[in-house]
C-alpha cells in the first residue's frame, strides 16, 4: 500500500513537472491585456480582445461601472459562483451546529475558558479587555471600509467579512462575549440568513431579464451613475447592484465565519451530556 502511494506520488509529480514545462512562462499570461485609455465614446470595444480576461479588463469598467475589475468579476460576471460559495459557508455553519447539537444544548461547563453564566472569568484583566475592545473597534471599522469600498479599492464582501470575523476571535480571547454565548449565536445566525436572503433576493429581483442581472447599472442615476473610463476616483454610489451584493456577502461572511469560531469556542468549553464516555 505504501509502495503504491509512492508510485502514485511519483507519477503525479512527473505529470505536473511535464505540465509546467509546457505551460506559458510565469508573467506572460494569455491575451494582450493592454487597456487603451482615452477612448472618446463609452461603448463596448472588442477590437483585439481575444480572451475572457481581456474583455473584462477592457470593458468591465464600462459595463459594470465599477473600478475594481476583480469585484465586477466576482459579483457580476461570475456572480453565480459567489452565490454557491456563500452557500458553502452557510452549509458549514449548519453542519457545525448539527454536529455539536448535544454540546450546544448542554448546560454543564467544565473548562476554565468559559465562565458560568453571571460570573466573571478568573483570568479577566482590564488591560486585555480594554485593549482588545479598542482593537475590535478598529478592525471592525477597517472591515466595514473594505466591504463598502469593494467596487472602488481592493476589498469586497469576502475580504471585509473575513477581516471583521478575525476581530470576533479577539473578543473570544478577551472573554467579552463568552457570557452571552447562546444569545450571540442566535443573533449571528439570524444575520447570516439575512445576508444570504438579501443576496438571493437581489438575484431574483432581476429575474424578468435574467437571474443576478445587474439591473441597477443600466440606469443613469443613483447606483447606475456613469463614471469616466480609465483611472478615476470612483464614487461610493455607483456600480449597480455590486455594492449591495458586496454588502450582503459581507454580512453573510462576517456572521457566518464568526458563528463557526464562536460555536467551536463555545463547544470547547462545555461538557457533552450525551457523550459515550
Amino acid at each position: 500500500m505504501r509502495l503504491l502511494s509512492v508510485v502514485a506520488i511519483v507519477i503525479l509529480f512527473g505529470f505536473l513537472f511535464v505540465g509546467i514545462l509546457h505551460l506559458h512562462p510565469v508573467g506572460e499570461a494569455l491575451g494582450n491585456s493592454e487597456v487603451l485609455q482615452g477612448r472618446p465614446e463609452l461603448g463596448i470595444d472588442i477590437n483585439g480582445v481575444s480572451t475572457m480576461d481581456d474583455y473584462f479588463l477592457r470593458n468591465g469598467q464600462i459595463e459594470t461601472k465599477s473600478n475594481n475589475i476583480v469585484a465586477s468579476v466576482v459579483f457580476d460576471y461570475r456572480g453565480f459562483d459567489t452565490l454557491g460559495e456563500a452557500t458553502v459557508l452557510f452549509i458549514v455553519v449548519s453542519s457545525i451546529s448539527m454536529l455539536f447539537f448535544t454540546f450546544l444544548k448542554s448546560k454543564s461547563i467544565v473548562s476554565a475558558g468559559v465562565p458560568p453564566a453571571g460570573q466573571f472569568p478568573k483570568i479577566e484583566s482590564r488591560v486585555i479587555t480594554f485593549g482588545s475592545f479598542i482593537m475590535y473597534i478598529m478592525i471592525l471599522s477597517f472591515g466595514v471600509y473594505l466591504v463598502v469600498h469593494g467596487h472602488i479599492s481592493p476589498g469586497g464582501g469576502f475580504q471585509g467579512g473575513s477581516v471583521m470575523a478575525s476581530a470576533t476571535a479577539l473578543l473570544l480571547i478577551s472573554f467579552l462575549i463568552t457570557r452571552h454565548m447562546q444569545r450571540t449565536r442566535k443573533i449571528f445566525s439570524f444575520f447570516e440568513s439575512l445576508g444570504l436572503t438579501i443576496f438571493i433576493g437581489l438575484g431574483f429581483a432581476g429575474i424578468t431579464i435574467s437571474f443576478l442581472y445587474n439591473f441597477l447599472a443600466h440606469t443613469s442615476t443613483g447606483f447606475g451613475r456613469i463614471i469616466a473610463f480609465g483611472p478615476n476616483q470612483g464614487y461610493l454610489i455607483s456600480a449597480g447592484i455590486l455594492p449591495l451584493l458586496s454588502l450582503a456577502v459581507g454580512i453573510e461572511v462576517f456572521f457566518g465565519l464568526s458563528l463557526i469560531v464562536v460555536t467551536l469556542f463555545h463547544v470547547s468549553g462545555v461538557k457533552d451530556t450525551n457523550s459515550l464516555r
Binding site: 505504501r2 502511494s5 506520488i9 503525479l12 509529480f13 505536473l16 513537472f17 509546467i20 505551460l23 512562462p25 510565469v26 508573467g27 506572460e28 499570461a29 494569455l30 491575451g31 491585456s33 493592454e34 487597456v35 487603451l36 485609455q37 482615452g38 475572457m52 480576461d53 473584462f56 479588463l57 469598467q61 473600478n67 475594481n68 475589475i69 476583480v70 465586477s72 468579476v73 466576482v74 461570475r78 459562483d81 459567489t82 460559495e85 458553502v88 452549509i91 458549514v92 453542519s95 457545525i96 455539536f100 479599492s153 469586497g156 469576502f158 475580504q159 473575513s162 480609465g230 483611472p231 470612483g234 461572511v253 465565519l257 467551536l264 463547544v267 457533552d272 457523550s275 459515550l276 464516555r277
Partner: protein
C-alpha cells in the same frame, strides 16, 4: 521568464501536502496538510494570471498613461472563492475529527481503522 520559481514552488507545496496527507497519521495534521495543498493550488492559479510589469486590475490608483497593462482578474476572483471554500472544508473536517476523538479517544488513523461493530 525566470519567475518559473513560482511554478516550482507550487509543485513543492503540492508534493509536501500530498506526502503529508498520505503518510501522516494524525487527523488534525491531515487537515493541516490539506490546507497546504490548497494554498499551493491557489498560488498556481494566481501565478497563471500574473504579468510582469503590470498592475492590479483596479482602476482607482492607475497611472494616467495612454496604455496600461493589468494582471488577469479572473484567477483572483476564483481564488477568493476557493479560499473561503477551503476554510469551510477545514472547519468541517476539524469538527468531525473532534467528534471522532470524543467517541474513540484517539486521533490516530491506525487505531481508528479496523474497528468492526454493528450498532
Amino acid at each position: 521568464m525566470s519567475a518559473i520559481v513560482l511554478y516550482v514552488t507550487f509543485i513543492l507545496l503540492l508534493t509536501i501536502g500530498i506526502i503529508a496527507l498520505l503518510f501522516k497519521r494524525n487527523l488534525i495534521k491531515i487537515v493541516l496538510a490539506f490546507n497546504i495543498l490548497d494554498s499551493g493550488i491557489n498560488l498556481f492559479f494566481i501565478a497563471l494570471g500574473y504579468r510582469e510589469n503590470a498592475m492590479a486590475p483596479i482602476f482607482t490608483p492607475a497611472p494616467l498613461d495612454s496604455v496600461i497593462t493589468m494582471v488577469l482578474p479572473t484567477p483572483q476572483a476564483l481564488i477568493l472563492t476557493n479560499i473561503v471554500i477551503g476554510f469551510a472544508t477545514t472547519a468541517l473536517m476539524l469538527g468531525v475529527s473532534v467528534l471522532t476523538y470524543r467517541n474513540n479517544n484517539t486521533l490516530d488513523t491506525r487505531k481508528l481503522r479496523g474497528v468492526e461493530e454493528y450498532d
